[in-house]
Amino acid sequence: MTNVVEAAIAESLNSPHSKYETIEQIKDAAATLHQTHACTLCILRFLQIAHGPVYQDQDTQLYEQLGLSEQPAEPCPVCLGILSNDVARQIAEKYTAQEFDAQQVTLGIEVPKSIYVRHRSMQIFCSTNIALTSIQDVVDVKDTLKYMVAQQLANHSVTVVAECDTQIDIAFAHPESAPDCQFLVDRANSATASRVAIITKLTACTDAELTAHFTCPPPPITTRANISVSTKRASIFVGGRYLKLERNISQTPFIVEGRRVTEHSVSEIIGAPLQQLTKCDSYNMVGSGREDADVRMLGDGRPFYIECINPRRIRTLDADICEIERTLSTTNSPVQARRLQVIRAQDTAIIKEGEENKTKHYCALVWFAHKLSQEKLAEINELGKHDIVLEQKTPVRVLHRRAPLTRPRKLLALAIEHIEGCFYRVRIESEAGTYIKEFVHGDLGRTVPSLAGLADTPADIFELDVECVSLDFPPAV
């Protein structure tokens, strides 16, 4: 015997849990198990040999060493072909192909449901065979695969841990053996029965019942299980404040009937470089409120965060993120960022809170049908020094998608200054959620009071800019 196999068996014999006392007993057990056409690794599992280099040894040598005749050609009826170095290698390759810069991963494995039935069948086979009666605590098939995959991943400097932000989901399907579970469930199609249901029914099933419906040892198969591998990583969040220096830019892509209404959007201008940087699948922007596409966002910008979904690269991002902020600024991009930085998932809650609680400052270009008298101007400015409570019905322009309500909103400050002719500059500080345009023209009398109403002449708003969103987020870099 080679050293590896010798060492493994010796260790097994020395272990307090082993029921075997001599090498001969182990060889007998191996020969009996071999009759079931199980693969090497399943034989090792049932011999209760612990994970170690012996599991990576090539199958042929092991068969010789254990004194067994040639190995079976068909896939193993116990593990359905799951336990193989090829499979482990495939999994490792599919993972590394994605180029995640993770040093740790977690493995999630889903085996075909028929494996549970076949395992039980093997247990019954063992209990009825003298050479195998001492078999208990068989090494678990999922743990074995995890061990094998971990060995492969170690070649790429990746360690497998119990919990981390990157999870490799490995799912096996074996249509050929799907009918195995049928006798356990009442439904005609055992594929729809849940895993938990099958396991419960199996535990409740007696040995006699099982042997009545299923062969012990398990019947042979001709196909290997199919494998699908997908990796999911926790999202990374990048927070900041955005400025919109030009009009006709929506916050997120604005598409109506398949056509883009605005050529650009804030989320794409900041999100696209972030996506390039983190190599994420997709991104999602959440702002602390938003302004219409034709309204600029000036001052220190509006707080937002972008969630990068399934990012491939998350390490050493800080310098590159600063670079994105700098480039947007030096190239005079119509959308710029401030305080751009990686934030924690729990820091994102403040964005939505701020949307509802914080006040906003606006500056608008307003037209009146008639020039306002000095008295009227003074009157409005005097009124504007105190809180003004508005009753705003849902504006006609959004009534198709918002509930018809009347919302009370407060203006904390209002100041109006003549520019020339019928044009005036109006500055407003208002509670979150106030419709400013509707306050100016009155929305057919559905916002009361309105600037038009206060001035007693029709009014309209030609330009609107947000000067300040008073939520302090994120911290200055």
């Binding site: 322009r397 509930a403 500059r425």
Partner: protein, 197 residues
């Protein structure tokens, strides 16, 4: 509050043309928000009876001034319905014979309609000729205002119940109702309307 915002400047000159148009006709500012068409309301029962005296169909049609309503459609397709400038009630000369507006009586099914929530599922269905309300004048005349578009009722203007003369004093704030059409196709929405009077 400091009014002078040093960073924001406005190029008033860019609005010169618009300013000139609005100076002549201030109501035009509504054109920035609505596409406007007109609907000729079918005459209400009572007056139809009175005017049936005239035998010549043609002269009858010419003699009777049409009761024009405006249909102002927002980009989201919602339509605001009210009295157009060419409606008899908005002509001061005609009002001498008709009388001032004393009451706006909304139809029962309009007043009892339920409009709740984002989807507004239970709202009242309307056909273009569905009567929304009846306008009563001091001289006992009645004028009907109809839906003009096929759709569902979004809002009826309760202000007209407490302030009936608003409907002629300020037809834009004195709108009668807001309707969500049952189609997004402009041609179908305006199938009963004309683009100018």
């Amino acid at each position: 509050m400091d009014v002078t915002s040093t960073q924001i400047t406005y190029d008033i000159g860019a609005y010169a043309q618009l300013n000139e148009q609005l100076r002549i006709k201030p109501e035009l500012y509504l054109d920035r928000y609505f596409v406007q068409q007109f609907y000729a309301c079918a005459i209400a029962g009572k007056r139809k009876h009175d005017e049936a005296e005239s035998t010549d169909a043609e002269t009858r049609d010419e003699a009777i001034p049409r009761e024009w309503q405006y249909v102002r459609m927002s980009p989201n397709k919602l339509c605001v319905i009210g009295l157009a400038g060419s409606h008899p009630l908005l002509d001061p000369e005609q009002r001498k014979h008709i009388g001032e507006v004393t009451k706006v009586e909304f139809a029962d099914n309009v007043k009892n309609s339920v409009i709740k929530g984002k989807r507004k599922k239970q709202s009242l269905r309307l056909m273009p000729n569905t009567k929304l309300c009846t306008i009563h004048t001091a001289d006992g005349k009645e004028y009907a205002v109809r839906a003009a578009v096929k759709g569902v009722l979004m809002e009826w203007n309760g202000r007209l119940e407490s302030d009936p003369s608003l409907v002629t004093r300020c037809p834009e704030q004195g709108f009668v109702a807001i309707i969500k059409p049952s189609t997004d196709d402009n041609q179908k929405i305006f199938s009963e309307c004309v683009s100018s009077v």
